[in-house]
Amino acid sequence: MIRVKLRAWTASFRFPTFQSGYQPTLPVPPPSTIQGILSAAKGEPVYLTQLPYVGYIFKSSGKGVDLEKIYALGKVETDIMKREFHYNAELYLYLPDEWKQYFKRPRYQLLLGRSSDLAIVEEIKENISLDEKEAPLGGTVVPIELGVPGMVHALVVEYDYSTVPRRAKLVKPFVVLPYPKTAAEKRRQTTRGFYDSELGIGVYLHRWSR
């Protein structure tokens, strides 16, 4: 298993249906954003339901709100939108070994959300070993069935890119878990799972191929 660390000045993960006037950001990227990042790195559509596993941890230094000028498509008109964004964002991806080559030389630019949220590959670490134990989860989404309390929201797991426009292939409700900042938060989000001792955080490995 490898662990890829991405870093970006800003990141923004829109709630799937809140796009008028004010766009709040999800606390962590939805699975479909991870699909987008993997696809950009590889240079072709990647489907999470075909990967043996994928895990991710996201954290940022804080949030802010940006005023964004929009040039409406198809007409000479502009609008101002308020968009919430994460500042100083980090994303750790846990992937099978073969993904090293794609992140070493990504085919397209990697984005943590929108086109302005440009990310760089800061580190690719090989031979990552995770232990199974009681571990605090966070900075990720987990299935509701796991029983960890958090914000529940319906999210697209992956899109089918064989058509234009793209189409959702799999949609599920998830528990959206922010990265725990304090010992108290860590305790709230602790469950049995895999643990990255180097980062001190639990890693939920999604296996949608099942």
Partner: protein, 490 residues
């Protein structure tokens, strides 16, 4: 704390392809056989809550076609009225809605029958297998007709199509999810914006929105949430009420998110307020175990300017003013100082409630809490032997400790007191001293100031009467001194 089993390496997990362990908790998220399911989306789940509450059912699979038709009849009759149509649906939720005929140009044609026909036609709409799947429920195919914010709040308009895939087709939402969104106005609370309380487990959501349906049955108008102006104040009020009914264990994995929005032609705003699980459990615990204490804690948090303005209408304060206790609980700050009335040197709540707050919300482990309590009891054992004036002065040193060295000096003085009073054994060992000063400093919420507040809580709890008596004597003495000094100057 759960027992940690023997650790297993990741490679074993990968090679054996063992099922990733999931606790089979109370999930009810996907029941493919029923017409509707919980989706995780606040607006469609709210619509489902309306169907369930009006039908007296608890689960989506219990809903019959007759139930749905009855609710549609009920909703259509209300939606055809001006108070609902232009005054609420068009003005706050679904501007120019064609389905609910809230578009002002439809006023003449708007009848309960016409609205009912539109609603039922959504349920009978044929699916096109060539259409993408619904991005909310993932079960059905999206509607062929574009879905814009006039039919589903906040999804965007055709006027600014930048955020739709392909830039022109609207949101991919199925006719059933769209139908549920049309039921949402029945359970939404109407404050200055629209409030939806999205809760999990979903049974909790039924509890939170029951009041809206009861209000509609009484007045045939949308619930105004008892005229609360602030969504979080309403939520905490309801949580206190619901908390008395719920056992804490039932809230173990519960979560609540408030969606407070407005969606009309002038503006679209959205505020997402997440209520952390420990906060839910703490408020429910407070409501069951020490309601009077919780009330006192809350009463200390009201914005002073606002509370002063509304002093002639005190019943308005909880509805209109902001409260520091609520905001701190929601933002992860500590409300420990609100457990103590520093001015009157007394506690606002029981040690039991304080202990629950410290362990469940602040994350202080029970062992640490018991350790601090033990130290506080030994301080009390020492200072209660001092004369009143000296006792008050000693405790004031702790109250006024703003820097770590001042906090440290307090313990040294108490240690000296113990020696002078001939109390056997030291107040604490060197290790304890180091622990109390430095061990709780890493987490902002659990710093030495937390320890100071906990010590003061225990001291006030045990010595309130003597401290107040001593304070009164001090004030009297100071006044006499002033009189004397003034006399001297003359």
């Amino acid at each position: 704390m759960r027992t940690i089993r023997k650790e297993k390496r990741l490679d074993k997990f990968l090679t054996k392809s063992e099922e990733q362990k999931t606790q089979s908790k109370d999930t009810d998220t996907t029941t493919t056989s029923s017409l509707f399911t919980w989706t995780g989306h606040p607006f469609t789940d709210a619509g489902l809550v309306a169907l369930l509450l009006l039908s007296g059912k608890k689960k989506p699979e219990e809903l019959s076609k007759e139930d749905i038709e009855n609710v549609v009849n009920f909703a259509s009759r209300l939606y055809a009225r001006k108070e609902w149509s232009s005054g609420y649906i068009h003005a706050m939720m679904l501007p120019n809605s064609g389905i609910l005929m809230a578009n002002p140009s439809m006023a003449k044609k708007r009848t309960p029958e016409a609205i009912k026909k539109n609603l039922l036609s959504l349920l009978n709409e044929k699916e096109d297998p060539r259409a993408p799947i619904c991005e909310i429920c993932g079960r059905r195919h999206a509607r062929i007709k574009p879905v814009y914010r006039s039919d589903f709040p906040l999804v965007g308009t055709g006027g600014v199509p930048n955020y739709f895939p392909s830039g022109k087709d609207g949101a991919n939402i199925c006719s059933h999810c769209l139908f549920l969104a049309q039921m949402m106005p029945l359970v939404a609370y109407r404050l200055s914006r629209v409030l939806i309380i999205h809760a999990y487990p979903y049974q909790l959501m039924l509890e939170f929105h029951k009041e809206a349906i009861e209000d509609i049955k009484k007045s045939e108008l949308a619930s105004t949430a008892r005229d609360f102006k602030r969504p979080e104040n309403f939520l905490f009020e309801k949580l206190t009420e619901i908390g008395t009914k719920f056992e804490i264990g039932k809230l173990e994995n519960a979560s609540i998110t408030l969606y407070y929005f407005v969606n009309n032609n002038q503006s679209q705003e959205m505020e997402v307020i997440y209520i952390p699980n420990p906060v839910l459990r703490f408020v429910a615990f407070a409501a069951r175990v020490d309601r009077a204490g919780w009330k006192k804690i809350v009463s200390m948090g009201w914005n002073k300017g606002c509370a002063k303005r509304l002093s002639k209408k005190p019943e308005e304060i909880p509805k209109s003013c902001s409260n520091d206790v609520y905001s701190k609980l929601l933002s992860g700050g500590s409300i420990l100082p609100y457990f103590i009335d520093f001015q009157n040197r007394k506690v606002n709540a029981s040690w039991r409630l304080l202990s629950f707050y410290c362990s469940e919300v602040l994350g202080l482990d029970r062992e640490a809490l018991e350790f601090i309590k033990g130290i506080a009891d030994r301080i009390v054992e020492t200072v209660e032997k001092l004369p009143d004036n000296k006792l008050s002065r000693r405790i004031r040193e702790l109250e006024r400790a703003e820097k770590l060295y001042q906090f440290e000096s307090f313990f040294i003085r108490v240690e000296k007191d113990r020696q002078e009073l001939g109390i056997p054994e030291a107040l604490m060992s060197f290790d304890d001293f180091a622990r109390i000063l430095t061990s709780y400093g890493e987490d902002l919420n659990v710093s030495w100031k937390t320890v100071k507040n906990l010590l003061l809580f225990r001291i006030y709890e045990k010595l309130h009467d003597r401290l107040m008596k001593a304070s009164a004597e001090e004030v009297e003495a100071e006044e006499n001194e002033e009189e004397f000094e003034e006399g001297g100057e003359e």
